[in-house]
Symmetry: C2
Subunit: 401 residues, 2 copies
């Protein structure tokens, strides 16, 4: 028998990808699931990214610098300035292989094994995988469906800070709840971090995807030079570039940046072509393109909420209205939402269609939480969303009978 490390045995398979096999099998049977399970936008990426790829395609595909191309980091800083009206230093950014790699770098440099990071349940499921992988203990404070997933009071958070606490990690807007935390809430967390010498790690992957004309929240706006703050980012969602695997870390602390750079040097570099193509995209993006993106997702959110209220309420489905990102958590009248999600893929169809949902349990690290909830990603067109809700309601009725 071969040895398997304890940490790898403890790393959970992705709750988002766990049911994929059943979806593939459904397709093989001729049943097409509406993919509401994964944050894979159906929208096209900007045309200028494709142009950038065509321009960059050459026969010299050399290593990028470990910290990322300076010209890409300059283009990124300029783009942030245009969008957020903040001036950031290109040298404070490190380019990573998606936000994922950036988070693993942070868990590794901010924590030794056994050290703690405070998170707010429910949140991005893969934080748990990164924590197992790096030996970090996540201390989860729950935010509740019934309260619209608001953050706990600073006093409650304070009680969970120990001598091993190194950071507070917030995904904002939050995946899977779609809650947007405002500047004051982030500032309250930052005050705690200052008081106790912690890092505030802000995953701003969905930053510009906010609804109802709310202002964008970003620590880049008010803590640009704060050595306690790291902003984690990614091209994946706002530019529909999930497969490009380009993220950034904004790290004002020179000491921390140097340590992350050592890890980055060991893995050599992030992909070259995508940095070059994204640089071209960022420099030539027409103004207002994110406005259009927000409008599109907001219309989908509204359509989904309406469908859920009209058809779902009577069937016992409740949900919180998201103020950002493109996810919504729904509470279903079932005991085990994962079993129901599997049922939809394995034992149900309506005229050749079914629905692929993400059980929300995987986004909670407090055991027993979210058992009756699912995450719905509104990454399909409105007609599809309406039809998917109809199928969900009918599937629910079939499941319960």
């Amino acid at each position: 028998m071969v040895f398997l490390s304890e940490r790898s045995r403890n790393t959970p398979p992705s709750p988002i990808r766990r049911l994929s096999r059943f979806a593939r099998e459904a397709k093989a049977r001729g049943v097409l699931p509406y993919a509401l399970n994964i944050g894979q936008p159906d929208l096209e990426c900007p045309a200028s990214f494709q142009e950038g790829v065509l321009q960059a395609a050459s026969r010299h595909i050399e290593y990028a610098p470990s910290e990322g191309f300076l010209s890409f980091r300059e283009a990124w800083a300029e783009w942030c300035e245009r969008e957020l009206a903040v001036s950031t230093d290109p040298d404070h950014y490190l380019v990573t292989v998606g936000a994922s790699e950036g988070l693993v770098f942070l868990f590794t440099t901010c924590c030794d094994p056994g050290d703690e990071i405070i998170i707010f349940d429910p949140t991005y499921a893969n934080y748990m995988g990164f924590a197992e992988q790096t030996g970090v203990r996540l201390v989860s404070l729950s935010s509740r469906f019934e309260d619209g997933f608001q953050l706990p009071e600073p006093e409650t958070i304070r009680k969970h800070i120990t001598s091993r606490t190194r950071a507070i990690l917030l995904c904002n807007p939050n995946n899977p709840t779609g809650v947007l935390y405002g500047e004051e809430e982030v500032q309250r967390l930052l005050d705690l971090c200052h008081r106790y010498g912690l890092y505030l790690l802000l995953d701003e992957t969905y930053r510009e995807i906010v609804y109802d004309q709310q202002p964008i929240t970003s620590a880049l706006k008010f803590a640009t030079e704060d050595p306690h703050v790291v902003v984690v980012d990614s091209l994946s969602k706002r530019f529909s570039l999930c497969g490009a695997r380009i993220g950034t870390l904004h790290v004002p602390s020179p000491e921390l940046r140097e340590k992350i750079l050592s890890l980055a040097q060991a893995r050599l570099a992030a992909p070259t072509l995508e940095q070059q193509a994204a640089e071209h995209m960022l420099r030539t993006l027409p103004p207002g393109s994110l406005e259009a993106l927000r409008g599109c997702y907001q219309a989908r959110r509204d359509c989904l909420l309406t469908a859920l209220q009209e058809k779902g309420s009577a069937a016992g489905i409740s949900c919180c209205s998201p103020s950002g990102a493109f996810y919504l958590l729904a509470k279903l009248p079932v005991e085990n939402a994962e079993e129901f999600a599997r049922f939809l893929l394995t034992d149900y169809q309506h005229e050749g269609r079914t629905v692929f949902l993400s059980p929300a349990k995987g986004f909670y690290s407090i055991p027993g939480s979210g058992e009756d909830e699912v995450r719905i990603a509104f990454v399909l067109q409105e007609d599809s969303l309406r039809h998917a809700v109809e199928i969900l309601v009918e599937g629910l009725s079939a499941y319960r009978s």
Copy 2:
């Protein structure tokens, strides 16, 4: 003050990239260094990769599956079959972000913090970074310049196996020595691994780059289904695709594969475009293209060896002739080769040129080893290599006087 983890404080900056700043400063002064420091081939990648990029460029850049596209893994298995006459199962491969990510996955799944991996000094410097990052203790057995860097006897290796030993890691052909280990030597290591329940991790990044018509060594040929064996691979060197960041792991053990897949799922995916472009490349690569590559590097090796013998011997430089990869270790008549390498960048020039070498110390994990050695990457054309040796010899004379 912000906290920095002990493991990040212990992660060494890349010895290969540490002097880069001085090279940039030399360039800024108008002194152009011959870049013999980094394994960045100057050769073009296959034209079919560029074609593949142009074909794959689209406005839908979606996540690849976490294990990599099946069609890419099939193309890779077919290509391995053509090159090595072995049949491998596409489902035994996992696609990684370069060999680097594959190695971090292996260190994490094969070892818990404090567990040990046996390596042979000198070897690829970044193994040390990966070990610090993952809490793995590298147990280094030295191989000696004077013996042509042959592996220790099995009996010597056996004495270093403890209850915490999980694996033996071999880079073959080895970076930085250029030594190719034959099938019998690998088999001897495998016998030990079977006897003590260890993994044999084989980094075959340079597999096809071997000289003098020697047969290619690959564990894929004789341990295809062995659950103790993992072959780590990368497109970077043999296809001059360093910036593509695509590697593979061949993992026959279903249990280990499942655990690596959980880590792979947490980071979502390797880049999409490069997998698609590389698939096209692998399917359309003209026969004999690696033969041409070997011929090119062999001519460079011979040119470098001749220049070092003709000009370098009298100056006190000695070296081992590499049988694979594109590196050569040279012993210099200096006490501190790093100081000399820095001198060449900061205080020396010959008609506007100098030489950028990698101090070999960073490739040794046994302290005090390799202090007077440098690694020379022969990734330049023959005229440049000859000129670089002349400058090296003159620089040496200037340094010593």
